[in-house]
Every structure is written in structure tokens, then in C-alpha cells.
């Protein structure tokens, strides 16, 4: 009884886990069944089984050998003595022989035995059958070869026997003997020895089983001491992932798991510091942009108030001065727009932009936007169904529409179509969809992903347009503030199309 190679401490228990990692949901509990705790317990059990089993097996083998050897040695030497003390008349005759054999059988030691004799073709025994069924040809051959006799253990029909073959000899000298041709066999049942051996086996097994049960206790303790820090680490990692960068693990003891906890704490500390520095840098940059535009605004307010004075008087100046004055006046206006847009973007970045929502008739709002910008000729076509009401910030929605239409007229081409509709969404409330399509060449695919970037210039050769370069970025922020989305694309027949989707919040009438 040795270790079964199949139950070795190989990776077998771990194997199903690897499969379960990719398997969907229901497999997870099975993967858990081969978790760390189970594997630790299995390992402890395995070690206990191997050591207890090996000890029991070795003890059993040694004890059994000693037990059987004593019985054999006693039997063999006593049989040899009896055979030597018995005189046999030669040639052997069957009648007298049986009597001698019965006499020998009575002297069996440590247990009674049945004695058989073989001489040529003569067969005799102390029992009823003259020939034994348990004596093997090998024993017979060995008995002829070795004058000091030979023995063998045989199991027949579940009963163990000791068979001893002892040839009778003539003494021809002090050390020389000559076989007489008569061989005596003793057949002894070893049942009592077998009972003793069986008792040994049971004792070994009974000793090993409680050992295995006891081995479970340190296994559980070890599993717990490993699993608790692992669970803590698991929770801490999840907490870290959800943005709580101040997550730390209590460090207990000085083992490898404590080292792991310490490393985790150090890493999260470093991460927290880096993130804080990044945020501070971002905050500084943001505040700088806000401060700069703030500081620019005050002188601009003074300049902008007097641009009209400059323009009115430009006619009376000489040509060069007049051009210079008009340039200053026009650029002051552009600078004012740029600074206002920068301020607006800063507010979005600082999340200080507020949504002052109001229930509006959307078609009416769009018509007003177009009317106020004097886009009332056939450059802008509209498809505005009546009766669509939505909660919008009128000022911001006005900016969105004005920017998209203005953009379409400037970079695309007339006619520009403004289309309004609503659509149901499987998830969430229905949405208000506003499309602004132009008839220009469309937007190049390389430009599309960057179209809402700040100061993105679609054409590198083009320097500065009339806009601030922030128009679409502000439009995007305004749409996002409404909880909506905006996308840009090209129509199959040519021309760019911007699609704004804003969720419609069902508002109860009256109140």
C-alpha cells in the first residue's frame, strides 16, 4: 500500500478553476468550490493521508513479517528436528509409514500440521488424503535440490497455508548428506496468524483516520489566515476601483501577506499622490484660463463700448488711419466673442454651468433663433412640426441651433435644412432630435473625430475664421448639459449633418 500517483499533489484541483474563469455566471459557484480554501484543505488532507498511510503501511509490513517469520521459523525448525529424530526403514513401506506420519503430525508446533510423505510413486499422509492439494511443483523441486528443506506460503481458497518440505538424508560425513528419496511435507494452516495480521491492519487504519480528521483543523486555520487578508485585499481593490483612493488595508504580522498589504498601501498612497497632483495641475490650468479671460474682459468692456465711436468717425480720417481704426474695431469685436467663449468653456470645465430649463415650444424657439439671426431667406429651410414641447434652457438651446446653422452656412453651403422630430427609445424617455444638414462638400473622414475639439482647425492652411474656434466645443457642452448627445456625419448624397438628441422629460400639464 503506497501512494496512488493519481492522487498526487499536482494541479488537478486547480484545473477546473481555469476553465470557470471564462465560463459565464453559473459556473462561478463551481469555480468557488475549487477555491483557495478547498485547495488548502485538500493539500493538508493529502499530506495527512500520505504520511499516515505510509507510516501505517510500513508498520504493518514490519509487524506482519515479524509475526509470520516467527511462526515459520518455529514450524520449520521443529519439523526438521522431528524428521531427523524419526528413523525410517528403507525401502519405505506404506503400512508402517502412515503410523510414523500420524506420530509426527501430533507433534506439530506451533500449530498442528498434516504430514505427507512422497517416496518414488508412494504417497502417504497423516490425514485422509494421501496427496496434498496445496503442495506446489516448485516446492517439490526445491525439496529435491536442497537437503535442508524448503518452505512456502500458499493461499488456497482464501486460507493461508505454510508448506514445509523436508527430505530425509543419510549422513555420509560430518558435513555431507545424501538424500534418501523420501520427502516429508508438513502443511500447516496459518489462520491464527492471518487474524493477527488483520488486527494489525485494522489498528493501523483506525490510527490513521483520526489523524486525518485532526489534520483538517490546522488546514482550516491556515486557510482562514490566508483568506482573510485576501478578502480584505479584494474589498480594498474594489473600493479603490470605485474611486476611493484613500483606501488602505490594516497590516497585521510580518508574513508575505502582510508584505502584500504593505505594498498595496504604498502603491495606493503613490497613486493618490499622483492623482492629487494631476488634479491640482488641472485645477491650476483651468483657473488660469478662467483668470486670463476674466482679466481680458475688463479692458475689452471699455474698448467694446467705444468701437462705435471709432467706426463713426473713421469716415472723416485719412484712408490709412481709417483702415487701421476699422481693423481695431472689428478685431475688438472678435476678441470679445473669443473671451466670452473662453469664459463659457471655463464655466463648463469648472462644472459651474447651470441649466435654467423652461418648458418651450421647440419649433417656435428654433424659428425665433433663425429670425433673430436674420436667417429668414431661402438659405435656411425648416421642417418643424408644431406642438413639440420640451424642457430646455432657451438661451443654451438658442446657442446650439444658432451655432450649428451658422457653422453650416459658413463651412458647408446653402441651403441648410433644420429638421425637428421626436423618437421613442427602448431605454429611457423619448428624445427630441434636431438635425442641421448643409449642402456643402461634407466633412472629411479624418476631421470627423475631432470636429468637437477646442480650437481644432479642419484645414491646417486656414488660419483664423470668424468664429472663436470654440463654437462646436461649447455646443457639445450645452447639449451634454441637457443630458443629450450630438453627432456629426455626412449625408449619402453629400453635405454634412449634425444631429442633436435631447431626452424629452414628460412634464405634467397645469398645476
Amino acid at each position: 500500500m503506497t501512494t496512488d500517483p493519481g492522487a498526487g499533489p499536482g494541479p488537478r484541483p486547480g484545473r477546473p478553476r481555469r476553465g470557470a474563469r471564462t465560463a459565464p455566471g453559473g459556473e462561478r459557484s463551481r469555480a468557488r468550490a475549487f477555491g483557495l480554501r478547498t485547495r488548502l484543505l485538500l493539500a493538508f488532507l493529502l499530506v495527512a493521508v500520505v504520511s499516515a498511510g505510509t507510516t501505517a503501511a510500513l508498520t504493518y509490513r514490519e509487524a506482519r513479517t515479524a509475526l509470520l517469520k516467527t511462526a515459520q521459523d518455529t514450524a520449520v525448525s521443529s519439523f526438521r528436528d522431528h524428521v531427523q529424530q524419526t528413523g525410517f526403514g528403507l525401502p519405505v513401506r506404506k503400512e508402517g509409514l502412515e503410523e510414523v506420519l500420524r506420530d509426527l503430525a501430533r507433534k506439530g508446533k506451533p500449530r498442528p500440521w498434516v504430514v505427507f510423505a512422497e517416496y518414488g510413486s508412494l504417497r502417504a499422509s497423516s490425514g485422509e488424503n494421501p496427496v496434498s492439494t496445496v503442495i506446489t511443483p516448485e516446492l517439490r523441486r526445491a525439496a529435491r535440490a536442497n537437503p535442508r528443506g524448503h518452505f512456502e506460503r500458499v493461499v488456497k481458497d482464501g486460507v493461508p497455508y505454510l508448506t514445509i518440505a523436508m527430505p530425509t538424508v543419510f549422513k555420509t560425513g560430518p558435513d555431507d548428506v545424501l538424500p534418501t528419496g523420501l520427502v516429508l511435507y508438513a502443511v500447516m494452516r496459518m489462520t491464527d496468524e492471518q487474524v493477527n495480521v488483520d488486527a494489525l491492519l485494522i489498528a493501523a487504519r483506525d490510527g490513521a483516520l483520526p489523524g486525518l480528521a485532526v489534520a483538517l483543523i490546522p488546514g482550516l486555520i491556515a486557510a482562514r489566515s490566508v483568506l482573510r487578508p485576501v478578502r480584505q485585499l479584494h474589498r480594498a481593490t474594489r473600493s479603490l476601483g470605485s474611486g476611493r483612493l484613500d483606501t488602505r488595508i490594516p497590516v497585521r504580522g510580518s508574513d508575505e501577506l502582510a508584505d502584500l498589504a504593505r505594498t498595496f498601501n504604498e502603491s495606493t498612497g503613490q497613486l493618490e499622490r499622483s492623482v492629487r497632483e494631476l488634479r491640482e495641475a488641472e485645477e491650476r490650468a483651468r483657473r488660469f484660463a478662467s483668470d486670463v479671460s476674466h482679466e481680458l474682459r475688463t479692458p475689452l468692456a471699455g474698448m467694446l463700448a467705444v468701437t462705435e465711436v471709432l467706426e463713426e468717425d473713421a469716415d472723416g480720417l485719412d484712408a490709412d488711419t481709417a483702415r487701421a481704426v476699422r481693423l481695431v474695431s472689428a478685431e475688438t469685436g472678435k476678441l470679445a466673442v473669443l473671451v466670452e467663449d473662453l469664459m463659457e468653456i471655463s464655466r463648463f470645465d469648472a462644472r459651474a454651468a447651470e441649466l435654467n430649463a423652461d418648458e418651450v415650444d421647440v419649433a417656435e424657439a428654433i424659428r425665433k433663433t433663425l429670425h433673430n439671426r436674420h436667417w429668414t431667406d431661402d438659405r435656411v429651410r425648416t421642417e418643424l412640426p408644431d406642438g413639440i414641447r420640451a424642457r430646455l434652457d432657451p438661451r443654451r438651446f438658442d446657442l446650439v441651433i444658432a451655432n450649428l446653422v451658422g457653422n453650416a452656412l459658413k463651412h458647408g453651403g446653402a441651403p441648410v435644412t433644420v429638421r425637428l422630430r421626436t423618437a421613442a427609445r427602448s431605454a429611457g424617455p423619448p428624445v427630441l432630435i434636431t438635425e442641421v444638414a448643409d449642402s456643402g462638400p461634407g466633412i472629411r473622414p479624418a476631421v470627423l473625430p475631432h470636429i468637437f475639439d477646442r480650437f481644432y482647425k479642419a484645414d491646417a492652411a486656414r488660419t483664423r475664421s470668424a468664429g472663436s474656434g470654440l463654437g462646436l466645443a461649447i455646443t457639445l457642452e450645452n447639449v451634454k448639459l441637457h443630458g443629450g448627445t450630438i453627432s456629426a456625419g455626412n449625408l449619402p448624397g453629400g453635405g454634412a449633418v449634425f444631429t442633436v438628441e435631447i431626452p424629452l422629460h414628460a412634464e405634467e400639464a397645469g398645476g
Binding site: S290, H294, R297, T298, P299, L300, A301, G302, M303, L304, A305, V306, T307, E308, V309, E312, G333, A336, V339, E340, M343, E344, S346, R347, A352, N356, D358, E359, V360, A365, K368, T369, N372, R391, P394, R395, F397, D398, E507, E508, A509, G510, G511
Partner: protein, 227 residues
Amino acid sequence: MPRVLLIEDDPSVREGVELGLRRRGHEVRAAATGEAGLAALAEFRPDLLLLDLMLPGMNGVQVCRRVRERSQLPIIMLTARGDDFDVVIGLEAGADDYIVKPARTEVIEARIRAVLRRLDGSGPGRPAVEVHGDLTIDRSALTVAKGGRPLALAPSEIKLLLHLSAAPEQVFSRQQLLEHVWEHNFHADARLVDACVARLRGKIEDEAGSPRYVQTLRGFGYRFGPL
């Protein structure tokens, strides 16, 4: 042409706005602080006050409150969006309108004209004096009395009341009111309407918490009555 008192601490804005308005024929007095502006008030007797919100010392909101204690002088606030002072606080203190800086002179002048424009409330076949519950509204004299006692209403408040009461029980959206009462062409800040309604209710309603005269229709706007 209207006389305008400008209270603005920044010299370039003060000078620019003063120059621009004067060129358009306004008589302008400029003051650098709230205290100086209040001092000039009695002597200069302006038709309108252009008031910067961010002032050193006494700030624009405090100046606005001080002015409202004694008179219903039309007040337009000069603000910069994103300033520490919220527009709403200024409006609640009694300002009639606001202008976001930087602004062209034509924009400033348009706002001044709009605030000063008298509502032609007395249409044909309409009595000059109307009585709604305890309120007596005189459309030609532009006075309002409650239970016989005259009420001191700021220009924007009386315009709003005249506009609403001209069509009792008709609902006006905040955008409509911004267009008709404040003459804002572009979509403006609807908080202007809400602040004015709050001030008006404080003066005409028995209980501002459960208004009778100026009622809110959530999601749609405001209406006068029904009483």
C-alpha cells in the same frame, strides 16, 4: 435724452461706456464707488442707474437696496457672467434688468430705452382705471394702489403687472414675458422674470406664499387671476 448715472469702478469701462453713451446724446454722470454714486443721486437726479455689481467697499447689491428704499428709479445692473455675485441676488435686490459685460454701446442703449419705455397700456375702449379685487390699476397714470394705499412699484414690476392684468387669466410663458415686458430679443435669462414676479408678489399679494393676483402655472408660465 435720458440722464444716466453710471457707477463703475473700472476706469476703462467707466470711461468707455460714458463716452459711448454721451456720443449718443445721453447726459452721463460717472461715479467710481457706490458711496460716490449715492451721493450724486440727489444732486444729479438721473432717469436711470447703470450699476456695476462688483464694486469696492459698498457693493452693487447694497447700492441697489439703498436706492430702492427711497425711490423706484430704473436700475440696470452691469454684470460679468461667472462673477462671484449672482445675477439673481441683484435682481432680488430690485434691479429691473441686467447687461452682461463686455457689451457694445448699442446694446447698452437698447436696454436703457427698453427699461424707460412707457407701456401703452390704455388701449381704445379700455377704462384707464381698473379694479381687480383690492388692486386699483391706473393705466394712464401708471400707478397701482392696494386697498386705497398707493404701492411703490419699480418700473419692471409695474410693466409686468400691466401686461399680465391686460389679459386676465391668460397664461404667458416666461419667454413671452421676457420679449414683451423686457424687450429681450434673444433668449434671455428667465430668472429675470422669476425675480421680478417674486418682488411684485411681495408688494401686491396678501400672502406671497399663496398668490392670488400673479399665479404660477408650472411648466407654462404666469397669469393674472382668476380672482
